[in-house]
């Protein structure tokens, strides 16, 4: 007799909702949100905080703190307290060296040439990808605890302006954090989704997103559930942090301060941020460092930040021109990012677009809320829903041609996914290889663009010059990530290659980091329990397989065999993908299911042992 173990309420319902969340991985703060009872909401930690400061602290004895806890270390141990690492994602030292906030960073950056910059900490030299993965891991845990189950998938938002390397870095960080990424979603698109602005007839809207470290502006066309991005622009090095730095610089200049140590720097920046926030409601504030103090009026503050807001407005002009629209064609302006709380920003935006911007939703949460709605749809919880997000590629992709010039293959603001093929030929008789250099950016000269990949195409059959036809295909997926394939067509030789941009991490790098993150997760109870159950499942499966091979056919009917095999199969699957609890449940099912088999084998071995022996011999 075979018994099926199934506790009431424990069997998963066939149409159970899958757990999916949206994550806003921000420069200053990060959030996680999900859809509950049909509406999106951000999830709080046990202390009731929704915002998780994007800060990771590497302490003594391999201790890692994330968020508030890490932030408290910022003034005591600035070298090991990593803030704003989003600015470093997918970027080399040269890319970031010129940025004000990076120069002022109290932690040590390593110049690794063309490779992604790393940060020197007591935990070793860390890639911003690893640091970001700690933030993602923390949000993933928060979500699983709060929702009471494992996440099926996540949608992670990125600034629309992020290039390929920055997107790849974000996806890699999620992979290291053990999250299944359903989609990288552009932040402005997420914000439009959160406002549900698709209800109206065909209208154009602008999303003005001024966060801590990046500025994005996107122009979207909305029609009955279709969110079509027309253009996107911005500045990947402009944000509220720059307001703080402008304030701090003013303070330093006013007081003729010659130099500041790391602690003073950090304290001054904190004071500047507090002053900025207070000025949203006060007419003037005191800003102080040690025993030096100055009064700052809102008027003075406006003068300090106006040049920064000018940069944002210029990007708006450009985005509108790319969308072939004028500022009075814009039906709504959605405000996103904590820095849009600054009254001066709202004033200038209202003035330039000629209408009051939308500020109903919390500008810090709006992106995460939109991402949650998209995640919910992608895992299939909202069947029959018509929402469709058509994003564009933010920066042109091109190839290096003669003389260090760029030839654009895919133009910026082209709707993705997109594939373009370009044919190349050899210029020398018998040439068997050629170098292809893929770059991203708008500039004419290759050296002014971001180098994504440089690869050697080898094994071209020797032919006269100009006879080979090498077809190179550029495929950009819905996440905005590039794959390049090359093929020699004239001979039909299928020498295919796939290239991942050089700035991203190689698969081995990711595997190493995964290993590290698993190793550090060993202390985690759940991880340990999982590993134990996996080992037990493996032992049971091995023993049972061996027994089946030996005696299965002799001792079990065909249907009994099939039934037991199906249960073993299910356990095997669970061992690969399940949780500790679900594996334990399946171990029990297989155990019960194999009882009859075990009994018969026992009987058989007793019979065998008894055969031909006298009772007194036993």
């Amino acid at each position: 007799m075979l018994m099926q173990i199934s506790e009431p309420g424990q069997t998963p319902e066939p149409h159970q909702r899958k757990l999916a969340v949206g994550i806003d991985l921000g420069t200053t703060n990060s959030l996680v949100a999900t859809v509950r009872n049909g509406s999106a909401q951000t999830l709080a930690d046990i202390d009731g905080n929704h915002l998780l400061p994007s800060v990771v602290y590497y302490g003594e004895n391999a201790r890692i703190d994330v968020g508030e806890q890490a932030l408290t270390q910022a003034s005591g141990d600035p070298r090991n307290t990593l803030l704003s690492v989003k600015r470093l994602m997918g970027r080399s030292y040269t890319d970031v060296a010129g940025e004000e906030s990076v120069i002022k960073s109290p932690y040590e950056l390593l110049d690794l040439g063309q490779d992604m910059v790393k940060v020197r900490t007591r935990a070793g030299d860390l890639s911003p990808v690893q640091v970001s993965s700690e933030i993602l891991k923390s949000l993933g845990q928060r979500a699983e605890e709060s929702l009471g189950g494992e996440l099926t998938g996540v949608v992670i938002t990125v600034p629309a302006y992020f290039d390929d390397a920055q997107r790849q870095a974000t996806k890699d960080a999620a992979k290291i954090a053990g999250l299944n990424v359903l989609r990288l979603l552009n932040e402005p698109t997420a914000a439009a989704v959160a406002y549900g602005l698709d209800q109206q007839d065909e209208v154009a809207i602008a999303v003005f997103d001024l966060g801590g470290g990046t500025f994005d502006v996107s122009v979207l066309q909305l029609t009955k559930g279709v969110f079509e991005v027309l253009s996107t622009g911005g500045d990947s090095a402009l944000g509220g942090d720059d307001f703080d730095h402008a304030l701090a610089q003013w303070f330093v200049a006013e007081n003729k301060i010659v130099s500041l140590d790391m602690f003073q720097q950090r304290n001054l920046l904190t004071a500047a941020r507090q002053a900025k926030e207070a000025l949203s409601s006060e007419a003037e504030v005191q800003i102080g460092l040690g025993d030096v103090s100055l009064t700052l009026s809102r008027h003075q503050f406006n003068d300090l930040v106006d040049p920064l807001i000018d940069k944002a407005i210029r990007a708006c002009k450009r985005a509108l021109r790319d969308a072939k629209l004028r500022n009075d064609d814009i039906h709504n302006v959605v405000m996103v990012g904590g820095s849009t709380r600054v009254p001066r920003v709202r004033e200038r935006v209202a003035e330039w677009f000629g209408r009051e911007p939308l500020v109903d939703l919390d500008p810090d949460k709006v992106v995460a809320l939109g991402a949650a709605l998209q995640a919910d749809q992608l895992v299939g919880n909202r069947s029959g829903d018509e929402m469709l997000l058509l994003d564009v590629i933010p920066l042109s992709l091109g190839l290096e041609t003669m003389g260090g010039l760029t030839e654009k293959v895919i133009h910026r603001n082209t709707t993705i996914p997109v594939a373009m093929a370009q044919e190349f030929t050899t210029f020398k008789d018998g040439q068997t290889g050629m170098t292809i250099h893929v770059v991203q950016g708008e500039r004419e000269l290759v050296e002014d663009c971001r180098s994504l990949a440089r690869f050697e195409l080898q094994g071209i059959p020797p032919m006269v010059a100009g006879a080979a036809r090498i077809k190179v295909t550029f495929q950009v997926d819905a996440d905005g990530l590039l794959r390049v394939r090359a093929r020699e067509e004239s001979t039909g030789s299928e020498s295919r290659i796939e290239v991942k941009p050089a700035y991203g991490l190689s698969d081995t790098d990711i595997a190493d980091m995964l290993q590290q993150s698993w190793a550090s997760a060993l202390d985690d109870k759940e991880a340990r329990a999982l590993r134990e159950q996996q080992v037990e499942a493996e032992a049971l499966l091995q023993a049972l397989s061996a027994a089946m091979l030996k005696d299965g056919e002799a001792m079990l009917s065909e249907s009994e065999q099939a039934e037991l095999l199906a249960k073993m199969e299910a356990l095997h699957h669970e061992r690969e993908q399940g949780t500790a609890a679900s594996i334990a449940r399946h171990i029990e099912i297989v155990g019960k299911g194999s009882e009859v088999f075990a009994e018969r084998r026992m009987d058989a071995s007793i019979n065998q042992a008894l055969a031909g022996r006298r009772v007194d011999e036993i």
Partner: protein
Amino acid sequence: MSEFNPRENYFALLAVPQSYEVSQSDLTRRYRELQQGAHPDRFAGGSERERLNAVQYSSQINEAYETLVSPTRRAAYLLKLAGVDSDMSSTTFQDPEFLMQQMQLREELSELQDASDPESALDSFYQDLNAAANQQKSIFSNAYAQQQFDEALASYAKLQFLEKLRSEAELKESELLDY
């Protein structure tokens, strides 16, 4: 789900008649309908093969739409379908009237930065440019409909010249208006 066919005719794919005159609203409506079913987001939980197919098919729909929605690219595509080589690298113009128009437009463009109101000068330049382009589009449309491919090819070449002028103007616009 629909299978990706790399040789699919773009007009057939977007279900509009194969001619230069296309209804933009029909194109856009059909485009959105197709993407609703084909976009990779619809296969987020699908197999590797399904997702790859979705990326390719959805890319093709985007490419088809962008080809047909652009007057210049649509013309090139129609010529290609008719078996006409539209590579313009060695074309010379024998049309004095068009050459004159080109010269006038170039002059207008080069004088932009000295205009007292560059923004309105730019606007009037774009108006002239659009008028010239519309003229060529209507010549192309008639010639193509009557299968006079030489004439269609000539007007396509002119359209390309005007297009090049437009991108030069846009560059200038960025400089002038300080984007």
